[in-house]
């Protein structure tokens, strides 16, 4: 089985630097995007990967080549870039980040007018342009522009939404771990301005990520230790592009990204607005329980931020997200935003007067297993139909891969958009049951 180290898909272009991801390809992809956008200003932000510089210059030249103006925003969290694009009414933006992938990877993520990702059919059209190589190259390219303080706009937007007085009265002690990523230059000051006492770990930008950038419990030892020893009220972990958030309770235990989302949504529904809730098909059932408790309608969409945010607009949902820690509050912007997530959890902490571990205990308890299995892309389809057959007595849903629901458990199996893997998620009331179902699923792989 050959696994390509370059992946051109509707999620953008992604690859390993020094292997598949060459300046020529990056340039070509940027040319396709500028042609697709048709001119105007395209903002460019990056995370802190050392390859960002090489990638950035390729992107600039591609944008210039097709008659658009690159706006250099430097290191910037992806939600900040999305909000900047929306507020400044720009034609589009490119984020240079491979998100939670390891440091040798990099990628371009494409953002359109309004600060949201391309819809799948738009991305298809862009890919068509890319493969045909028919670009709208101009003879009088424009100039590169710069903006020194793009994060300000994001912060301003959140501060309009946040109950800052509530947080300031509590003056919570917070430990934050931005993984030396795109949030690193901003997050400490941001939390301080909210009235928190802040300790920052992994705040230096060193060129290598100090931990695996995915905010999974097993990657957060340093943060957990710091929360415990400093006697903090809460800990926050962000990923490299700062769209995902995972919270740590005051005892130094990660509450899990699913529960992080659940607590944020629960608080929003009880204290901000009653609104429908949208999450993706892989998200924990806790979210369904939370929505039911507040008596609001509940929807699931395909996996991927754009699918969730589109559904939110469609059904008029103000809150939602993805179970991997991607919290979306439409009052700020329909994008996954770890900064907004931190605000909601800090408000919750202040408003409830409880310890964070207690808040987590209040949530319904499920047992969830997330697994990745390497497969070739060709195998994927066959496996899915086999699974649907095997579990046909459950409620089968083919919206995105295959999801099957039973009263006491559910699972979701789908090929990843970004890696040649099959993602398996099983959630059950009991750990034993979850393990048994996982075993049953894997029999067919």
């Amino acid at each position: 089985m050959r696994i390509s180290d370059l992946k051109v898909s509707i999620s953008g272009i992604r690859g390993i630097v020094g292997k598949g991801l060459t300046p020529q390809l990056l340039m070509k992809f940027s040319e396709a995007f500028a042609t697709f956008i048709g001119g105007g200003t395209i903002a460019v932000g990056s995370d802190t990967r050392p390859s960002a510089e090489m990638v950035k210059y390729a992107v600039f030249s591609g944008i210039l080549s097709c008659g658009a103006t690159p706006l250099d925003l430097g290191i910037l969290p992806i939600p900040s870039l999305q909000i900047y694009t929306k507020e400044k009414k720009l034609e589009g933006a490119i984020s240079i980040t491979a998100s939670h992938n390891p440091v040798e990877w990099n990628a371009l993520k494409l953002i359109k007018k309004g600060g949201v990702f391309l819809y799948p059919y738009e991305a298809e059209e862009l890919l068509d342009l890319y493969y045909q190589g028919k670009f709208r190259r101009v003879d009088n390219p424009s100039k590169i522009e710069k903006e020194p303080n793009p994060f300000e706009l994001h912060e301003k937007r959140i501060f309009q939404f946040a109950d800052i007085d509530l947080i300031r009265r509590k003056r919570p002690k917070v430990v934050v771990d931005p993984c030396g990523g795109a949030a690193a230059p901003f997050v400490k000051k941001f939390l301080e301005r909210l009235g928190a006492e802040v300790i920052c770990v992994n705040c230096e930008i060193s060129g290598e990520f100090p931990r695996n950038p995915e905010p999974l419990p097993e990657n957060l030892n340093l943060l957990c230790e710091a929360v415990k020893t400093s006697g903090a009220d809460i800990g926050f972990a962000q990923d490299a592009d700062a769209d995902r958030l995972a919270a740590i309770d005051e005892k130094g235990n990660p509450i899990g990204e699913e529960n992080t989302l659940a607590l944020a949504v629960d608080y929003y529904l009880s204290n901000k607005k009653k609104s429908p809730v949208v999450v993706n098909l892989s998200t924990s059932k806790v979210l369904e329980d939370v929505a039911r408790k507040s008596g609001v309608s509940f929807f699931r969409s395909k996996v991927g931020e754009i699918n969730v945010s589109r559904k939110m607009v469609q059904v008029g949902a103000k809150i939602g997200g993805e179970g991997n820690g991607g919290i979306i509050a439409a009052d700020v912007h329909t994008c996954r935003d770890s900064f907004t997530g931190m605000v909601l959890l800090l408000e919750l902490l202040a408003w409830s007067g409880k310890r964070f571990s207690e808040l987590k205990e209040d949530l319904p308890q499920y047992h969830m297993i997330k697994e990745k299995v390497n497969i070739s892309f060709r195998e994927g389809k066959r496996i899915l139909s086999k699974l649907a057959e095997k579990f046909k007595d459950g409620r089968v849903d083919f919206t995105d891969g295959v999801r099957v629901d039973y009263p006491d458990f559910w699972f979701h199996v789908r090929p990843s958009n970004t890696e040649p893997v099959l993602r398996i998620i099983v959630e059950a009331l009991e750990e034993g049951l979850a393990n048994m179902i996982l075993k049953k699923i894997k029999e067919d792989l």
Binding site: P50, L64, R137
Partner: protein, 446 residues
């Protein structure tokens, strides 16, 4: 056909975006960086709208191959070449269309000395380009980019070793220059102050497009001629967009052929040089000037690459061409217009004469340059035929065919950039030249 990109040792030239675009520029930069293998690359660009775009493409490709990129920003190519002679760089890239008009641009590759690539170096880079087998550094070993300012004080200090600065300052020349809105614009003021010149410049705005085709030829001299007369200046000059070529205007407001730049510099360097390198297509004024100060002339192929490399091989300190290009090897390995201007100011102050007086003893030559359109598949057949036709006159084959007659010479060669033959004739009278031209064209058409 005319939109084809031209790949030669003098750069990757083409019209933006039809034939020269970010894709080709980045592939050449990747090939060049793969060839250089390690170290750091010096980069600069001219003021064309497409130059920054091409530079970004080059920069990204250099970093991806694991070499550092030192960006000198908007800078004349000769300044980069000057610095490369004095600081360790693996190579250089200048994004500059030089004398080519818009929408042309070029990616010019420089070796570690700051000189244009030699043919063998160039062909190695082109082979890597063709193979597409570029060096790819891992994420840990990517190069880094840095911006740097050009040390203009060092440039002037080195220049002052070769001219009598004190004497030039005392002359307080009034100088008028047309900068073609080129990369020299931000630097000319410092140059003027250093030499205590009263400087009047036109077309000195980098943000504006070229006011005329960026060659310093006499047909574009009208503006400078008028300002020289109006301001009663001592000298005028026209510089091309990347400051490698220059021509002069006398105090009477009369534009001088760019063929006169090299012979004037030869005069200025009397006593400091022993040999001149020029080309088989350059005016006999260079031979005449060299003869007057008693030094040898050696002729090579047309083009900066050939002239610079033959200067090294033959130990010629000065070299140049009739395009207004002059190089001085102790100073740098490239043509430098500003250095020629300094030589001229030095000559005027040394002789204590006005420019028209210095020109007085120059013999009268009549030169004609023409393009003969020939279909590409016929080019070499025509050249073969001419070789036979002129065999009796023991022609020189250094570059195309050069024939010397009493009171006249001509050179005919296929252009490396267009599908034409370039014919250059020079003789003592116009009628000699006209009749020879008619004869050659008749032979071609036979």
């Amino acid at each position: 056909m005319n939109d084809r990109v031209r790949i030669t040792v003098s750069g990757i030239r083409g019209k933006v975006p039809q034939s020269l675009n970010v894709d080709i520029a980045s592939k050449f930069a990747s090939a060049f960086a793969s060839y250089l293998d390690e170290g750091r690359v010096a980069g600069c660009r001219d003021s064309r709208f497409s130059s920054h775009m091409l530079e970004m493409a080059v920069c990204s490709s250099v970093l991806a191959a694991g070499l550092d990129y030192i960006d000198f920003g908007l800078l004349p190519t000769p300044f980069l070449q000057f610095l490369m002679k004095r600081e360790p760089f693996s190579g250089g890239v200048s994004i500059s269309g030089g004398h080519n008009p818009l929408p042309w641009n070029a990616v010019v590759l420089l070796n570690e000395e700051g000189a244009y690539l030699e043919p063998f170096e160039g062909s190695e880079v082109f082979n890597i380009y063709e193979s597409g087998d570029f060096k790819k550094a891992s994420w840990k070993n990517l190069g880094a980019a840095a911006e740097r300012d050009f040390p203009v004080e060092l440039y002037l200090k080195e220049m002052s070793k070769w001219v009598n600065v004190q004497r030039i300052r005392e002359s307080s020349f009034k100088v008028v220059g047309d900068l073609c809105n080129g990369a020299i614009s931000p630097f000319i003021g410092v140059f003027g102050e250093f030499f205590n010149c009263k400087l009047v410049t036109v077309n000195d705005d980098l943000g504006k497009p070229f006011p005329h085709p960026p060659e310093p030829s006499i047909e574009h001299a009208g503006q400078v001629e008028a300002v020289v007369k109006a301001t009663d200046a001592d000298i005028g000059f026209l510089i091309n967009s990347d400051s490698s070529r220059i021509s002069f205007v006398s105090e009477k407001g009369k534009g001088l052929s760019e063929e006169l730049t090299l012979p004037l510099c030869i005069f200025s360097l009397q006593g400091k040089i022993s040999k001149v390198m020029t080309t088989v297509a350059t005016s006999s004024w260079a031979d005449w000037a060299a003869g007057r100060i008693g030094i040898d002339v050696h002729k090579t192929k047309v083009g900066q690459s050939a002239v610079i490399h033959m200067m090294g091989a033959e130990n010629a300190e000065v070299g140049g061409e009739g395009s207004g290009s002059v190089a001085f090897s102790p100073f740098s390995s490239g043509y430098d217009a500003l250095l020629s201007l300094a030589f001229l100011l030095d000559l005027m102050s040394k002789e204590g004469k006005r420019l028209s007086e210095i020109m007085a003893p120059f013999p009268e030559y009549y030169m004609e340059k023409c393009k003969i359109e020939v279909p590409p598949e016929m080019t070499y057949k025509v050249m073969d035929k001419l070789e036979k036709v002129y065999a009796k006159e023991s022609p020189d084959f250094t570059d195309g065919i050069r024939v010397e007659r009493k009171c006249l010479w001509f050179n005919i060669r296929p252009s490396t950039t267009e599908f034409i033959l370039r014919l250059i004739l020079e003789g003592e009278t116009e009628s000699l030249v006209k009749s020879a031209k008619a004869e050659i064209i008749e032979r071609i058409e036979e």
